[in-house]
């Protein structure tokens, strides 16, 4: 049924409601008005018919008792007393000439012996034609009698019924619109309630729930189903966190011991080659540990952990810090690093994570943007959003590889010669998402421009 309605009225639910409501009011009012019309019309005709019946009886009575002069007397009396105020009466001879009555002459096309015929006539002293219902009688002597009643009233009635119909239509449209509007508001409110919670969840905050009592019963059904689903999701995320934390503990502890043993072995090792070998192992373990911790951190940011550490801080200052931190190492490689954009940009978020994300971007720019030129850090206030941009003048990332670049463990050169875990941009994205945002990779012509959009 619903699908059928949707196919017939392919608009949004509120518009559908408005159209349907208008259609329903017409569906009800039109037959009612037609019925009223039909009934009134019948009643009208009956009244006219019986009026004509009465007058015919009276006139024929006059004819029977006094022949033509008696009939003429009756006709004149009828006219004089005004009993046929809306009526027409005519006695005509064989050729149609008027003998008595208030109609000028016998209409040419009119035969005698009609029981009910409607046609316009010109009453005496009137230039306007008026619709009449007529009855004609053939008298034995060749004379013809015409009896009529104006049906102008019926025309009026018809007109007013049409007006009523139009009125009903005009009333149905605003009523339909009001109904549609009310439904629109309700739907919007419900949709935005669900949307808000969904956005929070998408941003990793699993504690939010819909108010099941806020709207009507049908909404409560949806709300409680969604809330049950959210509880399940929260449970799973919590489990995931426990598992990753335990895994972190279990993986890192043996690695720590390994590193400790290598450290002491390096102390005892007398020969330099041995020391170098042990140092190389140590470096690899460090890299492994960094990868584990980056993976865990990404997982945690994706799960919304870190939200409780949100605080107000100055993003522009943070950019300045990162710039200052990287300046010596950037200059050492013959590049430069500058900060542009707002000088004061308050933001509520996780300073440590955003700082780490920016450091990752600066690192990337340093390692992959080595072709030369400036690394630019900037921030832009967009009202609802703030944007942190890190751009370099290096080789950039081809457009078709950009989506790949932000995935975990993806590094763009297949040989994996450059040091790095392939987790840098993935972490940046996770941090942006924790703040309800996203990262966008663009061509800096030449170089790479990473835009980190954060919601306020």
């Amino acid at each position: 049924m619903n699908r059928l309605i949707r196919r017939v009225v392919p608009f949004s639910a509120p518009v559908r409601a408005a159209v349907l409501s208008i259609a329903f009011s017409l569906l009800i009012s039109v037959p009612v008005l037609l019925f009223v019309y039909h009934q009134t019309d019948n009643l009208f005709e009956q009244r006219i018919r019986s009026g004509i019946d009465d007058r015919e009886r009276d006139l024929l009575f006059g004819y029977r008792s006094g022949r033509i002069p008696g009939l003429v007397g009756e006709i004149e009396e009828e006219i004089d007393t005004g009993t046929v105020r809306n009526g027409a009466v005519l006695l005509a001879d064989k050729s149609g000439r008027k003998i008595a009555g208030n109609v000028e002459g016998w209409p040419e096309e009119l035969r005698a012996g009609e029981d009910w015929i409607e046609m316009p006539l010109y009453p005496v002293r009137s230039s306007q034609s008026v619709p009449y219902a007529l009855r004609t009688v053939q008298l034995p002597s060749g004379y013809k009698l015409l009896l009529g009643t104006s049906v102008e009233d019926r025309e009026h009635m018809r007109a007013s019924l049409v007006e009523a119909l139009v009125g009903a239509l005009l009333l149905a449209i605003p009523l339909g619109l009001v109904a549609g509007f009310i439904l629109l508001r309700v739907t919007e409110r419900q949709a935005s309630a669900v949307g808000k919670v969904a956005a929070r969840i998408a941003a990793g905050d699993f504690t939010h729930r819909l108010d099941e009592q806020a709207e009507g019963e049908e909404f409560a059904l949806i709300a409680s189903a969604i809330n049950r689903m959210l509880e399940r999701i929260e449970e799973l995320v919590e489990q995931l966190r426990l598992v990753t934390d335990s895994l972190a503990h279990d993986l890192r502890s043996p690695l720590t011991r390994m590193r400790a043993n290598i450290e002491s072995a390096a102390n005892y090792a007398s020969a330099e080659p041995e020391q170098y070998a042990l140092e190389a192992i140590s470096t690899d373990i460090d890299r492994l540990l960094r990868m584990i911790s980056a993976t865990l951190e990404i997982g945690r940011a994706e799960a919304g952990v870190g939200r409780e550490q949100f605080s107000e801080f100055n993003l522009a200052e943070l950019l300045g810090d990162i710039c200052e931190m990287y300046q010596p190492v950037v200059e050492e490689r013959g590049l430069s690093i500058v900060v542009e954009g707002e000088e004061d940009l308050a933001y509520f978020g996780n300073r440590q994570l955003i700082g780490r994300a920016l450091a990752n971007l600066a690192d990337n720019a340093l390692n992959y943007g080595a072709a030369g030129g400036a690394i630019t850090l900037s921030c832009v206030d967009r009202g609802e959003e703030v944007e942190l941009v890190v751009s370099d003048r290096g080789t950039g990332i081809p457009a078709d590889l950009r989506a790949d670049a932000v995935r975990k463990y993806r590094r763009l050169e297949p040989a994996r010669t450059t040091e790095g875990s392939g987790l840098g941009l993935a972490l940046v994205r996770a941090v942006a998402r924790l703040h309800g945002g996203e990262i966008i990779l663009e061509d800096n012509a030449p170089g790479l421009k990473v835009r980190m959009v954060l919601r306020r």
Binding site: D245, A248, H249, R252, S253, L255, T256, R257, R259, A260, E263, I285, L289, R290, S293, L296, E297, R300, V305, G306, E308, Q309, D321, E324, M325, Y326, P328, V329, E332, N350, Q352, L353, G355, R356, A359, N360, A362, D363, L366, N367, E419, G420, G424
Partner: protein, 229 residues
């Protein structure tokens, strides 16, 4: 007199590693294998510092820490944890720890931090110091003037704070992460070794053309400011 350290750690190998290292460096060490014992020792004895694992059987490390602080014991505590995520660190610091160290760590890192915490000791005595010196290097904290051998050294604000930190810890190792935490207030490890370059700039400013060199690299650990090489 050697300082007493309490190590609360359930993993025996890690505990051996820590205890062995500390004893080699002249500390007297008590060890506890679970939270309850740890709390018992902490409330009982006088320790120079407590090394507390975050994940412990029986009683969680942070609960032990809260209980220690609730009992009015102000012994410096370093929390050790595999939960390296930044927010976990803040939780630990909020619970009353003085420092937070993520596993895995080099022993030198732990040692440097324990020594730094001990020195912090009675905080009031140090905070009134307005002048720091090492050999012919002098720093005036009020005028923010730095001199080496009588001639003025111009430092960037961040270099000033780095040098101040090294001066306060002179003769002891200051690790890169300690610098990153104290001077920049960042609790993560930037991939590129940005700290080393800052230090080499600082070294150029204070050591170039002067004798003896004061800023030393301690291999595999960090940096140290000292008269002796």
């Amino acid at each position: 007199m050697s300082a007493k350290i309490l190590v609360v750690e359930d993993d025996e190998t890690t505990a051996d590693y820590i205890v062995g290292g500390l004893e080699q460096n002249g500390f007297v060490v008590d060890r506890a294998l679970n939270g309850r014992d740890g709390l018992f020792h902490a409330t009982d004895g006088k320790y120079a510092a407590i090394v507390l694992d975050r994940m412990l059987p029986g009683m969680d490390g942070l609960s032990v820490l809260s209980a220690i602080r609730a009992a009015g014991i102000q012994t410096p505590v370093i929390v050790l944890s595999a939960l390296g995520a930044i927010d976990e660190r803040v939780k630990g610091l909020n619970a009353g720890s003085d420092d937070y160290l993520t596993k895995p760590f080099a022993f030198s890192e732990l040692l440097a931090r324990i020594e730094a915490l001990q020195r912090r000791g009675p905080a009031t005595a140090q905070s009134v110091k307005t002048r720091l010196s090492c050999a012919d290097l002098h720093m005036d904290l009020l005028t923010r003037r730095v001199e080496r051998g009588g001639s003025r050294v111009d430092l960037q604000p961040r270099e000033f704070r780095l040098l101040e930190m090294l001066l306060r810890n002179q003769g002891k190792v200051v690790t890169r992460t300690m610098m990153l935490e104290e001077v920049w207030d960042y609790h993560f490890d930037p991939g590129t070794n940005v700290i080393d370059v800052h230090i080499s700039r600082l070294r150029k400013k204070i050591d170039e053309g002067s004798d003896p060199p004061l800023l030393h690299t301690v291999r595999g650990a960090g940096y140290m400011l000292s008269e002796r090489a």
